[in-house]
């Protein structure tokens, strides 16, 4: 595998590694690569591009913050958690968030120090920080983030709006579908669920209401049928073709939309698509590496192809 990768841009990364190439090492290196490229772009950016690029980092920041919060609430060492944060989501006061011991400290630390303050304000109050599940917190923050990003893109106008808004709408609807499907059989009730659905997608408001009431897969499918884009995703596969999971099909659609971004010029959407596609690429590489290590050669082709 090393041989093939050397032909691409990643060649320089892996030659410096030691002889035994583990999958986690590959993953780490790819992530570092993405980080360096992104910081290069970011340092050369002026507003409004810089704000746009910041928005891209916010999603990783949310993941990092949620992890730090749950770590702090369980009194774990900050030093342990910091290296595990996604590098794209790093911000200056990350350490401060980790040091806070009580929920009050945490809340004030986050509000003051992090750029995520705006998302916290709408969604989360101080008392709920303590007992909320990490997942629910993450999803609420992400909902606020998506909506804010969407309105930002709409304000930018022009080609950016034409390219970014479909992508973001798709992301919002995808989250709504997946949250619904995954919450069958868990304690998450319909009302709780609807507070997690981002409202900037095509499904808003009718579809979201129907989804909140749905209790099984068939009902979700019925909701999807009324929107032609999503009908294809939920269709049953033809007999004889490879079975793809719902997630895989959503991934494919996302990749398609991101690739479309490259067809237009002079807009910021390219940066977003670039980051997302690079991420997908590293995921594909890691998948192939895992298949090779575990000798499951037949499953190697289950990655998501980009630019077919």
């Amino acid at each position: 595998m090393k041989l093939h990768l050397q032909a691409t841009d990643y060649g320089k990364l892996l030659t410096s590694a030691e002889d035994d190439l583990t999958v986690s090492l590959v993953d780490l290196k790819l992530r570092q690569n993405l980080m360096t490229e992104f910081s290069c772009l970011r340092s050369n950016a002026l507003p409004p591009l810089s704000t746009f690029l910041d928005y891209i980092t916010y999603s990783y920041m949310i993941d990092n913050v949620v992890m730090l919060i749950s770590g702090a609430l369980r009194h774990r060492e900050v030093a342990e958690l910091l290296p595990r944060c996604h590098p794209l989501g790093a911000f200056d006061q990350m350490a401060a968030v980790g040091i806070a011991r009580t929920p009050t400290e945490l809340y004030s630390a986050i509000l003051v120090d992090t750029p995520l303050a705006q998302f916290f304000q709408d969604a989360v109050s101080e008392s709920s920080l303590d007992d909320m599940e990490a997942e629910i917190l993450r999803n609420k923050l992400y909902k606020a983030y998506l909506e804010s990003f969407h309105s930002f893109c709409q304000n930018m106008g022009g080609a950016t709006k034409d390219v970014m808004c479909p992508i973001l709408e798709f992301e919002a609807d995808r989250r709504a579908f997946i949250i619904t499907v995954n919450s069958f059989g868990t304690d998450l009730s319909g009302a709780d669920r609807s507070s997690l659905y981002p409202s900037c997608g095509k499904l808003h408001p009718e579809g979201l209401r129907l989804l909140a009431k749905a209790e099984e897969h068939e009902q979700v499918k019925a909701v999807a049928d009324s929107y032609p884009d999503y009908k294809i995703i939920f269709e049953d596969p033809e007999p004889g073709s490879d079975f793809k999971t719902l997630e895989d099909r959503f991934f494919e659609q996302e990749v398609k939309l991101n690739a479309l971004a490259f067809l237009q010029q002079f807009h910021f959407g390219v940066f977003y698509s670039y980051v997302k596609l690079k991420e997908q690429e590293s995921r594909n590489i890691v998948w192939i590496a895992e298949c090779v290590t575990q000798r499951q050669k037949s499953k190697i082709h289950n990655y998501i192809p980009i630019f077919q």
Partner: protein, 267 residues
Amino acid sequence: VSLQQGQKIKNYTLFVVFVQIGGLPACLFCVCRAQTIMKARLKGAQTGRNLLKKKSDALSMRFRQILRKIIETKTKMGEVMREAAFSLAEAKFAAGDFSTTVIQNVNKAQVKVRAKKDNVAGVTLPVFEHYQEGGDSYELTGLARGGEQLSRLKRNYARAVELLVELASLQTSFVTLDEAIKITNRRVNAIEHVIIPRIDRTLTYIITELDEREREEFYRLKKIQEKKKQLRERTDKEIAERLAKLGPIAEPANMLTEETDEDLLFE
């Protein structure tokens, strides 16, 4: 009393021997009693040996069963672990890196193991069974991405843990049974090759002693009879000699046949 070379005699038989040297007639009872005691011991040893052999057979049978199951479980284990590791890769592909979330949310064990005791032919074997406690604290992980793969992953690893627990209990019983079988076999062999021959030899020794004593008695009796006969012959001969020397033996006057009594002064 001759002590044959190399004959191992137990302590109390030695006591019997000493008593024999003393020559008291009362020791005869001791020896007979010793013989019955020895016979009883022999019987006891033989029964003990049979029982132990049966125990060893039962344990060996169970041992072989367990061995077969271990082989089965190990091959299944290989398959299951492979599948589980692969589903981990799939889940990582779909959901991103959720390892930190998982590590953060660890507080109590969900699957616990209980140890119970099983009895096979008198040997207690530990048996482990797993039980679930508390709800699934990772229900909501992967809510937004990769939930399906995550639930499949959880199922696969749960199955792997079940198999592991089973394998653990099989292996501990294997080791315990092995020990028990070795001990039992050692005991069976000890009884068969050491204790029983020893008792046999003691028994034969006692019997030979008794026989010898009988023969001694017999010989003594014979000797005494001979001696008595000789003595009688000798005394008879002496009397005959003396009689011959004295001539015709004046028989002492028979008072009853006397017609005149010289002592009578007046008739």
